[in-house]
Symmetry: C2
Subunit: 498 residues, 2 copies
């Protein structure tokens, strides 16, 4: 045990709490980088931190204290703290076990997840867990345990309904805003659908980003419960309610490693569905050259895994394999996509037919899955709700419940004042319309942070074009972004005509 003087360091780590010791002092006392140390303030309040060492910045009698530590222990410059080296948490042994290709038990996985949520593992240890899960794979049994552990350590929505519907898409298709049609249609029929969505990570807009063009999307669990009890459904940002806290922490190392171990991906998705109490879920699995799923075999495999896992949780799931080769709808970017959604709901002829058809198909399947529609009648029931304006009126209620303007018109949604038109340089047919290039260009234009930025398509894959005919327009609020857009258009060749 050492008594040292606090030196405040104005940096937060956002991960496991860290303190910094003088390097020579640490060496003499047999303390190493990334060792754990128990930090105790004068009032006896304690916290476990990871050790970092400093050659020159911290003197022997000092301990450098990062924000996460000084905030929690209420420390100020010059305070005295007691430090006691302690062992690694048990979960590091279980991570090692996984690295030795052994199957983990329920309690072992639970301990790992608990330690991750409570910031007791370092990034290096989490990286080892992710690497081991990727290389050794997670069995169905392990994936089940992982899912339950994520649910138990995260937030939960308790709606007390017998039927709770949900939908999930294994991302990768720009403009794929079916959720914003499915939720109002399903809930217009008196069913419950508390939909949480993600924001864009590498795409131009996530459903949460697009819905945000029309209403608020960040709510607490209590607020969400009120909204769903009132209007039967919602379209909100899942990140705000921390449904899968462990998952958010793991993403921190999975993203830089670009590792997405299948078991972790399945557990992450299923945990979020369990956390809202979903009983019936439809999965959209788009396949495309540039989608997350590239081959039919991959989609079929995932389909089986979702079904096996759902069976263990007594959830009812159905899956639909869809075409992920080109964007859906005309607009890409929050406001442009929200316009498409509103036009479809208002039965306006400007509404994209592909978006409408995909949404009614998924809605129909979900209605059949939960027994609301008879086999084969689902799509017609969904289509009918839209045609009669029920879906639109229900969307207005949801928008209002989420604090938006229910009377907003598609035309009211502004688009960036700076534009670039992409026109055909030759006559022919569009043989390539690259999802990833379109996504990058829309992001360069400012999407999703700039709601007015994005791409409006005038032509689609396989359509004939004449020389000089417009294929798409890029919108942005920033002139500087337009330079980058032009550069990307030249570099990426988003369109090929033959």
């Amino acid at each position: 045990m050492f008594k040292l003087t606090v030196k405040i360091i104005d940096v937060e780590t956002g991960a496991m709490p860290v303190i910094s010791l003088n390097e020579q002092f640490a060496k003499k006392n047999d303390v190493h980088k990334m060792d754990r140390i128990l930090v105790k303030n004068v009032k006896g309040k304690t916290l476990v931190a990871a050790v970092d060492t400093s050659e020159t910045m911290i003197e022997s009698h000092e301990v450098g204290v990062f924000e996460d530590v000084w905030k929690k222990l209420e420390l100020k410059e010059g305070d005295t703290v007691e430090l006691t080296p302690i062992g690694k948490p048990l979960s590091t042994k279980f991570i090692r076990k996984k690295m030795d290709n052994e199957e983990l038990f329920r309690d072992e996985i639970h301990q790992i997840i608990k330690d991750i949520v409570e910031d007791r593992l370092t990034d290096v240890e989490m990286a080892a867990f992710v690497s081991a899960s990727y290389m050794a794979g997670l069995s169905l049994q392990e994936t089940e345990y992982l899912t339950k552990s994520i649910v138990e350590t995260g937030g939960r929505l308790n709606l007390k309904k017998k039927l709770i519907l949900d939908k999930h898409c294994i991302g990768g298709v720009p403009g794929n805003r079916t959720t914003m049609l499915i939720v109002p249609t399903i809930t217009s029929l008196g069913l419950t659908m508390p939909k949480t969505s993600s924001r864009a990570i590498t795409s131009p807009a996530g459903t949460a980003d697009t819905m945000e063009a029309l209403a608020n999307v960040s709510f607490s669990i209590e607020e969400l419960t009120t909204i769903v009890n009132k209007v039967g459904g919602c379209i909100v940002w899942g990140g705000a309610i921390n449904l899968a806290a462990a998952d958010d922490k793991l993403i921190r190392v999975r993203h830089p490693l670009a590792l997405d171990p299948e078991g972790m991906m399945l557990a992450s998705i299923m945990a979020k569905k369990m956390a809202v109490g979903a009983t019936h879920i439809i999965f959209d699995l788009p396949i495309g050259e540039e989608s997350k799923l590239r081959y039919l075999g991959e989609a079929r495999h995932l389909e089986r895994e979702f079904k096996k896992l759902a069976e263990r949780f007594k959830m009812n799931v159905d899956t639909v394999i869809t075409d992920g080769n080109e964007p859906i709808g005309w607009g890409i970017g929050p406001n442009l996509e929200a316009r498409d959604v509103l036009w479809v709901l208002r039965n306006d002829k400007r509404g994209p037919m592909d978006l409408r058809a995909k949404a009614t198909m998924l809605t129909g399947k979900l209605l059949e899955l939960c027994g609301k529609a008879r086999e084969g009648d689902g799509i017609a029931m969904a289509e009918n709700q839209i045609k009669k304006g029920n879906s639109y009126r229900q969307m207005q209620r949801i928008i209002e419940a989420q604090g938006g303007d229910p009377n907003i018109k598609p035309e009211d949604l502004p688009l960036g004042e700076y534009t670039v038109d992409y026109v055909a340089e030759k006559k022919g047919k569009i043989v390539t319309l690259s999802n990833s290039a379109i996504a990058k260009i829309a992001r360069a234009a400012g999407s999703p942070v700039d709601k007015e930025a994005g791409i409006l398509l005038s032509k689609r894959y396989d359509q004939p074009v004449k020389i000089g005919e417009k294929i798409f327009t890029v919108y942005s609020r920033s002139e500087r972004n337009i330079d980058r857009v032009m550069q990307l258009i030249n570099e990426l060749n988003p369109i090929v005509i033959k």
Copy 2:
């Protein structure tokens, strides 16, 4: 590209350089934690840093700059820097390839090692590389490439000798100071032996710690060359000359993960031998219940691996499997071990016979391996050098060349004033004398930082003892350490009598 104002952060990372951006700013600009960013000062000097984000400590117009960055770019508070996000280094692709269980090519391994040495990989990426090397294993070919890459990116000793001898022990046996007998004996015969050793990590003393009781052990490559050219050999700390810089960086993540992938261990050892230009090496592989090698099969396997690898580097190696079940010599701890060594060299009857026998056996094997002695004559040649005092006089020359007092007497080496005697509580035979318990107690006493701390054995394994007879004495300079020693003695049961 962004222009931001420098905010100095008085913390060094000792790893990949880090800068901190405001979290909202980073999000808007599509920059994520652990992304790479090129930092450019007003003079156009650049450096690649990893991105960290801060919610409250860094404002949108600021960039928090850690010591490694502001020192290299000569930045001060309020300076303006240009930041440009850049991609990950190519080596992250090769790490991923290894995670996919594919064999890596020469250039791929070299790129990984180069990026590690030049601090271009984050700890999380290095953790993935170590995990993958552990789980997928490294082939002999990969180990060869890894060894060469470590040598090429580290320091080298260029002695211009035809024969350069070396010795390596796969650790784990307290008091095993044969190096300090082998080097003077070998070099007293006119041979060259530039021996670099490690300091203790978890043991009570490494050879470098014990030699430091008699002379300096930290030298630059130039100083080392002078010493070896003058007296034919040295016993120094390898860490000071950075022979395997990549290895030192990897240790940073291997230690907290407690992962020692075999290929990395082999490469680390062989690289250090190659870096001093060794042509003939003897390996000591002690087997014991608490040693690094626990079974004969493990030692035999390692023996084969060392020989196969040495063949690829055209090095001549021999291996000896030894008993690692009990400590060697009477003393454990720097001064206590140095006394044992000097007594053996001076042919004093207090010199432990087991240490002398093991050292002459290893020396003999090495003399035979390099052709200095005929098969079967090596041990006698070594024994003769010690008996005639040649080894001792040569050790005096080495001590002097390394800045120590050549006339130091074993009795001059002080021992800690606080002592604890461990006495037999019953009559019988010592059936257990635990290496790991002895090591922990000696470390608790202060060893190796306190040179005077350690354990002096009076009895050995398998010896009969009477009630009240002393088995060992613990020495320390600190009374507080003694409390901890007493506690450990009770907890660990270092001695079992039956």
